[in-house]
Point group: C2
Chain length 135, copies 2
DNA sequence: GATTAGTCTACTTATTTGGTGGATTAATCA
DNA sequence: TGATTAATCCACCAAATAAGTAGACTAATC
């Protein structure tokens, strides 16, 4: 399951996609429109900015906006920043790999199954982008 | 990510698959062989028994054993019992569905994407079974 | 220099995860 | 029948993570 934080992130991003190329959007506007706790949203947007997906401007006329075209930002990348690994086991994660305690990866059936799940999942999440958030 | 509990469950089950049709296996044997904390394993096995995947026998010669052929038990079913939903959003879960607060399912891009992920994931997890745990 | 709006640090609170202790019940065997 | 074996059940605990909040600070604009 995606965390609430990740769900908030996608809701916020979908608003920024709608306003793409229309200048900065206030955090407070996003919070109000999308019903996200303001201070919590601050943290989320900051994290997304540090990861390079958003840019921001301070002062009057400031706010947040997408750093690049929504069609260039895969859904998978957002999940990794906000929630971490997408895979169901550490030993099959591409970006957060950890060796399996007590499991020989060469002879572990679960490993193989979860590798398959990861591939199928990423095939979708790497190809769907923020532009697909607005239907 | 699967919880540690679910990972323990699969490790324990793979042992029971290896011993399938050879009578009951002691919790303590599984715990030792698979290096799972004994008392925690008790809880896990009990849960799996109540869900109908295992049977047990008390007293001397007792222990746990699979309730049916490993090839009849899908990996998906085990995950649902131990960890709950497989889907990435409540609003696309088949067994743990919950309506999305603040998201119109007919017009939500994320909903559609995660529906696709769910289908791709379940296509694998419903067809792989406990017999696939032993390679 | 007043105002606006994001940044940063540091909490707090709630929930989930992972794990333990100990008494009880059921089956077997001597 | 009573000792032994092994699962069952209940109730708890600690650590980690998730979710949310407070308030001072910095940068841009007017």
């Amino acid at each position: 399951m995606l965390s609430k934080k990740a769900q908030y992130a996608f809701r916020a991003l979908s608003h920024l996609v709608d306003k793409f190329d229309q200048g900065p959007v206030l955090i407070s506007e996003i919070a109000k429109k999308k019903r996200i706790p303001l201070k919590f949203l601050e943290n989320i947007l900051l994290e997304l900015r540090k990861a390079g997906f958003l840019e921001s401007k301070k002062g009057k006329g400031g706010g947040y906006y997408l750093a690049k075209n929504p069609s260039k930002i895969p859904v998978a990348a957002i999940i990794r920043v906000v929630d971490g690994p997408i895979a169901m086991l550490p030993c099959v994660s591409l970006y957060f790999y950890q060796r399996c305690k007590n499991c020989d990866e060469k002879r572990c059936g679960l490993h193989d199954i979860m590798e398959g799940v990861r591939d199928a999942t990423l095939h979708i999440l790497e190809n769907k982008t923020l532009k697909d958030l607005s239907v």
